[in-house]
Each structure stands twice: as structure tokens, then as C-alpha cells.
């Protein structure tokens, strides 16, 4: 006679525990969850340490100060999702601030300047994409060349700082949208959030977005599935170029000047935001909203450093490097376990 050993049905608590654990150890959600917790912890620590930290405006300022980085990170997310990388974004931001400043200085109205810059940087991204896909140049080399080109062009435009004095541009840059309770945001934030919304919709609701994920999961399989791999791969670099141009415009809203050495190392910030936001460097996994969260984490660390007062700004770079490293390590652990 055989005895039937009945395993007790998992209780609700056990099921919850199990699903929580599998969420944390999945390469898809794990890093995003860790980032979200990190953000909350840093925010609480800041609130305990500094008076005036727990204010709505502190959160809003994260968006105000990092609107350009959010837009950059959105573009970078597309590229990294396909398994590529774009090292040119910092230089392209600098180039577009230089173009904004010099075109406005020569009297071209802002309504024309902004679209011209976005088209120019998109075309630059498109050329990089063509190099990457059709000439099989490694993405980092192609984008490194673009970085060189964009930095050089900054100097061609001017070797010193150009300030922006165009009234309509300044008005757009400094005007704030009141949210009640003494809180307000800038138009940059609105633009950045619109871009985020468009990106989320594109990645999750369109054929293009699905192809982006498919390429990251395996380019050859995507090809065999009949997806438009070539077009998509070229287009992600164009998207990154577009975002870099727009980010440059938002950056010039913020600084109201153009300077050739500006935004050096911003590519690391953007890559770090994307990686901290849970996008796998190898491609295939990740969310745009994760990248936004990544930017917020970088922003809140910057805010803490500002509140701390004694810490110098170069600590930010070291922190970002360390954080990036920690998250890449986390990715390695999570993906190794799953595959």
C-alpha cells in the first residue's frame, strides 16, 4: 500500500514570498526593483539628515535639473536594448548647445533653430546607424568617431562660450508652470515627459519597438523571424541622435549658453542611468521608465551632495562610476543565474 504524501498547499504568504523572490532574481525586473528601493532609501536618508529635504519641490527639481538627461537616457535605452552603445551623446549635446547659441546669436528665430538642430543631430545619428549596420563597424567605434566629429564641430563654431540673449528663447527656458502649493516645473520637464511617453508607447505598442527588443534578444533570430532588423538597427541610432539634439536644446534652456567643453562625460551619465534603470548592456531586457528611475537616482545623489555642502562636485562622478559598477555586477549575477 502506498502512502500518498500530500505536500501542503502553499499559503498565501509563501506564494507572495516566492513571487517576490522571483521578481527580484529575474533579469527583467530585478535591477529595476533594486533601483526603486535604492531611490526610496536614499530619499529617506536624505530626509532624515537634512531639514527641508522632504519637500515636493525637491522631487520636482530632480526633473527640472535632469530633464535633458532623461531625454538622453531615453535615446540611449533604445540603443542599448539592441545591444549597441552610443558614446557620442555628450558631444552631440555640446554641439547642439553650440548650434543653438550661435544660430540665435546670428538672429535666426528660435522657431527655426530648434527643428534645424533636431534634424541635424538625427541625420548624424542616422549616418552612425548606417555605419554600424551596413559597414559592420562596431557601435562604440562608430559613435566614438561621431563623438570626435561633434566635439570638433563645436570648436569650429566657436572656441569660447556664447551666451544666449534671444528673448523668446529665454522666455521659454525660464517660464515655470505652477503646480499649486508653491511648486512649479519648467517646460523642459513637460517636453522630457512627453518624450518618455512617446518612447514607452513606441517600445511596447509598435512593431518597431518589438523589433528593438527582438534584436537585443538575438539579432540572427530576429532576422530569421523576418523582422526588419536593418531598418530598426539604423533607426535606433537616429532616435539616439534625435534625443541627443533635443537634450542639447533642453540643456541650453538650463545653461542659456553654448560652450565647446560642456557635457564632457555625459555619455557615462546616460549609460549609467540606463544600466541602473535595469536595462541589460547585452540588450534585450529593459524599460524606458527604468531609465527615468536611473536618472532620478543619479539626480538624488547629486542633490544629497549639494545638501551636504562639504562634498565637492567631483564626488558625483566617482559615485556614478561606483554605482554603475555595482549595477553591472548585479546584472552579471542575475543573468548568470537565469541562463
Amino acid at each position: 500500500m502506498s502512502t500518498l504524501i500530500k505536500t501542503p498547499a502553499p499559503t498565501r504568504f509563501e506564494r507572495m514570498l516566492h513571487s517576490t523572490r522571483s521578481a527580484f532574481t529575474s533579469p527583467k525586473y530585478g535591477p529595476v526593483l533594486v533601483t526603486a528601493i535604492l531611490f526610496v532609501v536614499v530619499f529617506i536618508v536624505g530626509g532624515i539628515r537634512y531639514p527641508g529635504f522632504f519637500a515636493g519641490q525637491v522631487i520636482l527639481n530632480l526633473f527640472v535639473d535632469n530633464a535633458y538627461l532623461i531625454v538622453l537616457a531615453v535615446g540611449m535605452t533604445f540603443v542599448i536594448l539592441t545591444g549597441g552603445i552610443d558614446l557620442s551623446v555628450g558631444a552631440v549635446v555640446a554641439l547642439s548647445t553650440m548650434m543653438v547659441a550661435s544660430l540665435l546669436q546670428s538672429g535666426v528665430p528660435a522657431v527655426i533653430v530648434i527643428p534645424v538642430i533636431i534634424v541635424a543631430t538625427t541625420v548624424l545619428g542616422l549616418l552612425v546607424g548606417l555605419m554600424v549596420h551596413y559597414f559592420k563597424v562596431q557601435p562604440f567605434i562608430a559613435t566614438l568617431a561621431a563623438m570626435f566629429l561633434a566635439r570638433g564641430l563645436c570648436y569650429v563654431i566657436s572656441q569660447s562660450s556664447i551666451s544666449i540673449s534671444d528673448q523668446s528663447f529665454i522666455a521659454l527656458a525660464v517660464s515655470r508652470i505652477p503646480l499649486g502649493g508653491g511648486m512649479s516645473i519648467t517646460w523642459s520637464v513637460v517636453i522630457a515627459l512627453v518624450i518618455v511617453a512617446i518612447a514607452v508607447w513606441t517600445l511596447h505598442r509598435t512593431r518597431f519597438g518589438r523589433t528593438v527588443y527582438a534584436i537585443g534578444g538575438g539579432e540572427q533570430s530576429a532576422q530569421l523571424m523576418g523582422l526588419p532588423v536593418a531598418r530598426t538597427k539604423v533607426l535606433v541610432y537616429a532616435v539616439s541622435g534625435l534625443c541627443s539634439g533635443l537634450a542639447g536644446i533642453l540643456f541650453s534652456f538650463y545653461t542659456l549658453s553654448g560652450y565647446p567643453l560642456t557635457a564632457i562625460g555625459t555619455e557615462l551619465d546616460a549609460i549609467a542611468a540606463v544600466v541602473i534603470g535595469g536595462t541589460l548592456l547585452a540588450g534585450g531586457y529593459g524599460f524606458v521608465l527604468g531609465s527615468v528611475l536611473g536618472v532620478l537616482v543619479l539626480g538624488i545623489i547629486q542633490t544629497i551632495i549639494t545638501f551636504e555642502g562639504t562634498l565637492s562636485s567631483w564626488w558625483t562622478k566617482i559615485f556614478i562610476g561606483a554605482l554603475l559598477l555595482a549595477f553591472i555586477g548585479l546584472q552579471r549575477v542575475l543573468t548568470r543565474r537565469k541562463t
Binding site: 563597424v137 570626435f148 570638433g152 572656441q159 565637492s312 552579471r332
Partner: protein, 348 residues
């Protein structure tokens, strides 16, 4: 005869040397005294000496970069390592009671080099042990390293006054600038170790196929450590020369973009970025091409910083020419020509 010519053209050094020759011709046309070398106070002076001396730091960095690229890697952190080395040396000199004491200078230089070795080992650790892609691993140090250099100099440009240290950047031995000896030294070390021992072959093996070389018993991990440490060492020497040249440690601007110049020198020299095959002589020629280009631009009267645009165009063209797509297209074109010639021969 034609066979010899074909072999010369097929050589990897052919196009870089042609580029160098073209640049020399342009320079001679613009400035007839280009090739003249004069002796002043027993020291050599002249445009060619200047090119060698000013190009030395980049050449040294590029030699280290060549071996990293040969393993299918890349080291973006060399500029930051150069900045850290310069900052360390200057802050030690400034902290010492007598910056002009040769012993102090030796300690400053040795400490800078030691720190560079640690940084190189760090890069090697991330790439070889943790398994992070080389671009990302070294990108971290590229940006965070500048922050660290700022931390060492406390955000200031440290200016030092030390004659023995200045020799590194502006001194002469037997009439030849010290920087040139250092570049020659870096080249000889790299060449001897990789061409007189099996090291070069092992590096190429790792670059061609890491998995296959591992199964064949190549200890890739140790090799990767070695090349990143060597690259950081080269970067430190380059940074020390640059710092000694200006006698100031500027954490933000010293050796800025040198990683790009170094990569460019390697690529122009015919080393494939896909790893596996490399040429140290090619890298030296590549570095000379870049430095001569910079000098040419300078002689013609264009602000030197704008040479970045030219460099970008050059690196793009070289990459496009190296690409498999271009090679396939050229091969197909040649086949079609041969086919047509064959058909004509038949019809006649």
C-alpha cells in the same frame, strides 16, 4: 617586379606610410625648412624632432592600446590614468620640502607609476574576472578617474617647480629629447616581449577566439591582466611627460581625448579593432601620421583644436575601408573585372 610591387601594396604598412609621405610633402611645400634639423647648444631642433617629441606621449599610450586592442578589448581610461599619474606626481612634489631633489622626483614618479599599475590591474580585474565588456569597464575609470584626479589635486591646477621633473618633458640626453627615448623604450619593451617570446602569439590567440584559446590551454585571464596593466603603465608615462612639459597637473584637461588619438593611431596602423592581428610598427607610424597631421594643420594656420574634425573624418574613412562590407564589394568588383576580361579574351 609586379609581384614585388603587389606585395608592397598589400603590406599593412603601405597605406599608413603613404599617408605619412603625403603629409610630409604638404609640409615641405608649405614650409621648405621642414626637414632641416639644427643643433643648438648640442641639442637637436627641427620640425621632425618636434613631431617626435610632441607625439611621444600619444605614441606611448597608443603602444599600450595596441596590445589591449589585440585582445579584442579597448581601454578608454588611459586619459584619466594619465591625469591621475600627473596629479599624483605633482602633489607629491608640492608636498615635499625640496621639489628639486632627485630623490623626491624619483619617489613621485615611482608612486605615480605604482598607482597606474593598480589602476591597470583594476581594469584587468573587471574585464578578465568579472567579465564586463572592456568599453564599459574602462568607461567607468574614464570618467570616475578624472574625478579621482580632481580629488588628488583638490580641484586645483597644481603648478610645480622642479628641474629634475621637468627633464621628463622638456629635457635632452645626448641632444635627443627625453620623451623620444621613453617612446622608443615603450616600443622596445612591447616589441621584445611580444615578438621575442610567445606572448604576442598568445595575445593574438585570445583576440581571435577567446573560447578556443582557453580550450587550447591559453591562460587568457593572466594575459588580459597583463595587457591592461601595460596599457595603464604606458598611460602613466604619457601623463608624466605631458605634466612635466607644462609643469602643472590639470586634472580636467591633461591628456584630454588622448584615448581617441591612441585608438586612431592603432587603427591607422592597420591593427584590426576586431582583435587578433596587430602591428606595433604600424601604431608608431599611425601616431606619426596623427602628430604630423596636427603639425600640418598648425602650419597651415587652422586652430589646432579643429584637427578633431579631420581626425574624425580619418577614423571614419579608415573604419569604412576596413569594413568587411567594403572588402566584399571590392572583391566582387575585381571578380567582375576579371570575368569581363576573360569573356573578351574568349570572344577574340
Amino acid at each position: 617586379m609586379t609581384a614585388l610591387l603587389a606585395r608592397i601594396v598589400a603590406s599593412r604598412l603601405f597605406w599608413p606610410l603613404v599617408m605619412l609621405a603625403v603629409l610630409f610633402v604638404i609640409n615641405v611645400l608649405a614650409f621648405p625648412g621642414f626637414f632641416s634639423i639644427t643643433v643648438r647648444d648640442g641639442n637637436l631642433y627641427g620640425s621632425l624632432i618636434d613631431i617626435l617629441r610632441n607625439g611621444a606621449p600619444m605614441m606611448i599610450v597608443a603602444i599600450g592600446m595596441t596590445l589591449v586592442i589585440a585582445t579584442r578589448g579597448i581601454d578608454l581610461s588611459v586619459g584619466a590614468v594619465a591625469a591621475i599619474a600627473g596629479s599624483v606626481a605633482c602633489s607629491i612634489l608640492l608636498g615635499a620640502p625640496d621639489p628639486a631633489d632627485p630623490g623626491t622626483v624619483a619617489i613621485a614618479i615611482l608612486t605615480a607609476v605604482l598607482i597606474a599599475l593598480v589602476l591597470g590591474a583594476w581594469n584587468g580585474f573587471l574585464v578578465a574576472v568579472v567579465g564586463i565588456q572592456p568599453i564599459i569597464a574602462t568607461l567607468i575609470l574614464m570618467t570616475a578617474g578624472r574625478g579621482a584626479a580632481m580629488l588628488i589635486t583638490e580641484g586645483q591646477i597644481l603648478t610645480v617647480n622642479s628641474a629634475p621633473f621637468k627633464v621628463l618633458g622638456a629635457g635632452f640626453i645626448w641632444g635627443v629629447p627625453v620623451a623620444i627615448y621613453l617612446a622608443a623604450g615603450a616600443f622596445l619593451v612591447a616589441a621584445l616581449f611580444t615578438r621575442r617570446t610567445a606572448l604576442g602569439m598568445l595575445i593574438e590567440a585570445v583576440g581571435i577566439n577567446p573560447e578556443a584559446s582557453r580550450q587550447a590551454g591559453v591562460r587568457a585571464r593572466g594575459l588580459l591582466f597583463l595587457v591592461y596593466i601595460f596599457a595603464a603603465l604606458c598611460a602613466a608615462v604619457g601623463g608624466l611627460i605631458l605634466t612635466a612639459n607644462t609643469m602643472a597637473a590639470d586634472a580636467n584637461n591633461v591628456a584630454l581625448f588622448i584615448e581617441l588619438d591612441a585608438i586612431l593611431a592603432v587603427v591607422i596602423g592597420g591593427t584590426s579593432l576586431a582583435g587578433g592581428r596587430y602591428s606595433l610598427v604600424g601604431t608608431v607610424v599611425g601616431a606619426l601620421v596623427i602628430q604630423t597631421l596636427v603639425t600640418t594643420v598648425y602650419t597651415v594656420g587652422i586652430p589646432p583644436i579643429i584637427t578633431m574634425v579631420f581626425k574624425a573624418v580619418v577614423v571614419t574613412l579608415v573604419c569604412l575601408l576596413q569594413s568587411p562590407t567594403t572588402n566584399d564589394a571590392l572583391a566582387a568588383f575585381r571578380r567582375r573585372l576579371a570575368l569581363r576580361a576573360g569573356k573578351e579574351a574568349v570572344s577574340v
